[in-house]
Amino acid sequence: MEAMEKGKKRKNWFAPLCVLVLTGLLIWGLGRLVRPKYASGITLEGSMVENWYAHAKEGHQVLFIGDCEVYESFSPVTLFREYGATSYIRGSAQQLMWQSYYLLREALKTETPRAVVLSICSLRYAEPQNEAYNRMTLDGMRLSREKVEAVRASLMEGESELSYYVPLLRYHDRIFELTAEDARYLFSGPELTYHGYLMRTEQVPFTWLPAAPLLKDANFGEKPVEYLTRIVDLCREKGIALILVKGPCLYPAWYEEWDAWLEDYAADQGVTYLNAMKLTDDMGIDWATDTYDGGIHLNVYGAEKYTRWLGAYLSERGLIEDQRQDPVAAARYEDLGRRYEREKQRRTEGNE
């Protein structure tokens, strides 16, 4: 009798449990289906954060973290070819300082690089700027404590936190706009970068850019500075050399006051700060040929020059070692390099 009761009770739970599991799976699957894949168009950056997971256990000597001033400015292929250093860029469009912190923290769970190169360009943003950029950075993160904290730090007014974990809630209306890309990249997004480097080959020379608006407040916001300090502490705790970089970009303006603040901050914290704007001559950057949008971002030719310069800097300070004789790394970069060259040639020909 008791056994029968138990059996009945178990049976009572069976259908709901099955449906719960199936519904959960379908919500997850449909979420993957309707989520934007960023495989074409002008928002390719949206797929980059997710790409890192496939390389998370490769163990890189240098980890680049930040916005377009890293993912369009450094070429891991060049760094390996010239100095034998393995590297990866965890970057995405307008990646805010707190997002950089959580992406770095997540990365450090699986690898401990010798150096972290952090773009400080986003210090200018005290608060999240818009949902689209938030989504491009955060949607690609796998569910973890880092993601939850990154989402909470980034949420804008009116945004639903839950929709960052259950994408179906945010993108359900895309069910009417699905394309073949959505099916093709259902389970893994497109890999459009070269270890996080987003290649641009167009050459649009610098001619004119608007004058910098008057700086109203020379101080950075409290929030980005707090997260910068957390990054400094994290690197210190892990014994990683931290290099703060301001990329060689002519616009938007980077003010003397900010530069001075960072010089002081870096000195206080015992980390390196490099303002590449002041070093473009050393790097050999030519604003007629090395930018794809008139001086705002570097193209592949500019990125290679900048990477060579940074590689020399890191090498001189013993922060990287030559791994070109390591067969695993060499094979990996050979494949990557082939793809990189093919794409560079294809795009360059396309430009002509």
């Binding site: 049976k11 069976f14 259908a15 709901p16 449906v19 199936l22 379908l26 949902e131 009116g158 009417f176």
Partner: protein, 520 residues
Amino acid sequence: MTFLSSGFLLLVGALLITYYVLPKRFRYLALLAGSVVFYALAGRAYLPFLTITVVTIYGAARLLGRSLEKQKAYVAAHKTELTKEALGAYKKGEGRRRTAIFLVCLLINLGLLGALKYTGFLLSAFRAPWEVHWVLPLGISFYTFQSVGYLIDVKRGKYPPEKNFLRYALFASFFPQMIQGPISRYDMLSKTLYEGADFDMDRLGRGLVRIAWGAAKKLIVADRLAPALGLLFGAEAGNYRGSWVFLGMVLYALRLYADFTGGIDMALGVGELFGVILPENFDRPYLSKNIEEYWTRWHMTMGGWFRDYVFYPLNVSKPFLKWTKRLRTKFGDSFLSRLPLYTATLITWLATGVWHGAGWNYALWGLTNGVVIILSLTLKPLYDRFHRRFPSLKEKKAYGAFEILRTFLLMCLIRLWDCYQGPGGVWRAFSSLFTVFNGDAALSGLDALGLSLSAWVIVLCMAALMLFVSLQKGDGSFRTRYLNTPARLWTIAGLLLLLCLLLGAYGPGYTASDFIYGQF
């Protein structure tokens, strides 16, 4: 806070666990605590008003109950020794005391409702030089009417008052019915509200299916149509005439039905999770064959309330009975002798209209309903004669369909009061139906209403599904016919949830539309 907010879902989840973990006799306390939390989350400023209603009605009902008991005991004790007149005088005295208590309590509660809901409107109607923006507590019309109904029943001696204050407080504030009803009766609701139901997986599933079905109606039909109706009846309403008005009134009927029945489904579903049976509020109203029938099938708990506590008492009140008698003597069984009945009908419908909101449109909406009902009553002999002449007509399905369509369109027309601003706007819309109909305009301009073709298809498919489910009710409800095994029940619950998540209108780009009836 609405049924579809994450806060509400979390509250229900937490309450479910607490409810079934507690010993049975304490479970109603969990529901009361949940109701207080719900109400405080909806707006802390609302709590004092609800408290006033709960305390005054509870106190007054207890006094009324004591008075009735005292009277009963007195009569029993002195039945033999006192004359009929003396007993009558005693009863009259006690009756007067009860009436005084009742009226004071009624004045406090209806006064509070009236002051909060109508002061602003009255000041602007009479062009007063100042404005007021008082807080309007969530569900005040619903809980006030439910409480007043209880007080009237106690006064009538229908049942004794609830002695336990906390139990009464739960009856007045049970949270699922605070957003848009239904308006429950104490004798019905108390059967399940306090019993502390045992955990039953199947009942849980049924509750979830009902919630998900309500959410699907709300999200897939009502909220998808909301932007289109916003255009048709909004600031630019003057640009949409003729066939647009027709399209608008039909879509509004669909939206209102999906929204209101969706909300009620959710309320009943939440109640079912806790084993509490709330009264049904709809019985396939759009399948009614005349307006009287319609009003016994749409918002049944409100209709029942006005019937039992306004219309009947008014119709059998001494002045009305005297008036009827006088007219009957003078005019026999003619139209004029039914004037008191019609007056009671109009007063009831005026009150119903005013209950819905503070505005001339609501009052006129109520009066229009009353007038149409009176007309149909007056013309009834004519109908009867017509059907005696063509006896087979009533049995024909096509004629039944015609009656249903006629009633549906009539109700759509009456609801124009709900859609347009002021009598002028309603008249312009109504007259354009006959002067500038231009049927092609609405059909060819559907995409101008902000809904994609796929959205229209989804709305129509869901409306068809709603119709299919409604039609099943003829032979027992859809739930009893199709959801009769746990596997089916839970599968439908899961599918409905997916349907809501995938096809519902929510998220950025949509403003979560509050339930239409929530504003009443």
